[in-house]
Symmetry: C2
Subunit: 201 residues, 2 copies
């Protein structure tokens, strides 16, 4: 029951997580492997490493490379790509909303729509109005979902995701963890992570 | 004349550079693309970012992941892999020797043999005796080559490689630069870099 499942840790501020969010379900369906969508906040993990913002801002040459690399990959995947301002964006509300959708089953669809607004259309996902529009696009009652994000148990679930990520050795996003605890980091390891998940029991 | 050529920047202390050094010539020959082997020292570039050792040592979770990821990749490529002590190793003498070989044409062969000693057999490549043994294995007069490494012009060439790397935006290793200045970073971008080089004029 535990096998053939891949946990997908993503942060809404993460550029490379966008690429994986757009690709993972189609790739997983082919194998097939189930995907567990697990939003989390990378900020606390970065802070523990002494970083108060994205390493792509802290190390300008690495940042310049990332934007170029992302553009090349988006072109190759035929995905739109823009540089949103500010970067990184505050993804707290989006992450809570993604968890609100887990019982009703719209987390994946919502996640893709948020990334599309952020990196496909350079919208600011910290803006509740942007997120409400996203919710409406996928046919979810925006006011009701927004209300749910104030629930303390839901807020705790997001923190738990972060704690789970840290315990499994996650230090960046996207990250993928197989049922036997194998960790893969980066959009360029998505295929290998799915293959590993498919062969675990 | 300038096209279909890929500049391969590598640091002898870099684990992922080992994987690329072992793979690049076979992949390049298939396309075909010429490879310019360019050893350089990452230390000064890391120092400019505020790092006094490898980020894999500075960030323990990232380091733990790297060793595991390297083992998986080495298994997939059917390459031996060991964790040498100390890590990172001092690759200054090896890099100078690699440059000594550029006129006689043994840089690539020497580079692979050094990486093989370091990451395939956990030898310490800062030890001149280890490097002499490597030179002898590939049929090079070890004493003569060692003598050449004292040449000031040769020492300067290694510094020039570092300056070239920095000017082209290199911030890690391995890095690949195409004739039109496109930068690719990481062993997992080797194939894309070769494809880009093949399509540049």
């Amino acid at each position: 029951m535990n096998g053939r499942r891949l946990t997908f840790y993503y942060d809404f501020a993460s550029t490379y997580s966008y690429l994986s969010a757009m690709r993972i379900e189609e790739l997983a369906a082919r194998i097939p492997v189930d995907v567990a969508w697990k939003p989390f906040l990378l900020g606390p993990i970065f802070k523990a490493q002494g970083w108060d913002t994205s390493p792509f801002n802290l190390y300008p040459q690495k940042g310049a490379y990332m934007w170029r690399d992302m553009q090349r990959l988006a072109d190759a995947y035929d995905l739109p790509f823009m540089h949103p301002e500010p970067f990184p964006q505050n993804g707290l509300l989006a992450a809570r909303l993604a968890l609100v959708g887990s019982d009703a089953g719209w987390t994946a669809q919502f996640t893709r729509a948020v990334y599309f607004a952020e990196f496909g259309a350079a919208k600011n996902i910290a803006d509740p109005e942007v997120l409400k529009a996203v919710l409406e696009t996928i046919g979810v009652d925006a006011e009701a979902a927004m209300w749910e994000t104030r629930n303390e148990a839901l807020k705790q679930r997001l923190k738990d995701n972060g704690a789970d990520a840290e315990r499994q050795g996650v230090f960046g996003a996207p990250s993928f963890v197989t049922p036997d605890g194998e960790l893969f980091w980066g959009n360029d390891r998505l295929e290998a992570a799915l293959d590993w998940a498919a062969s675990s029991i």
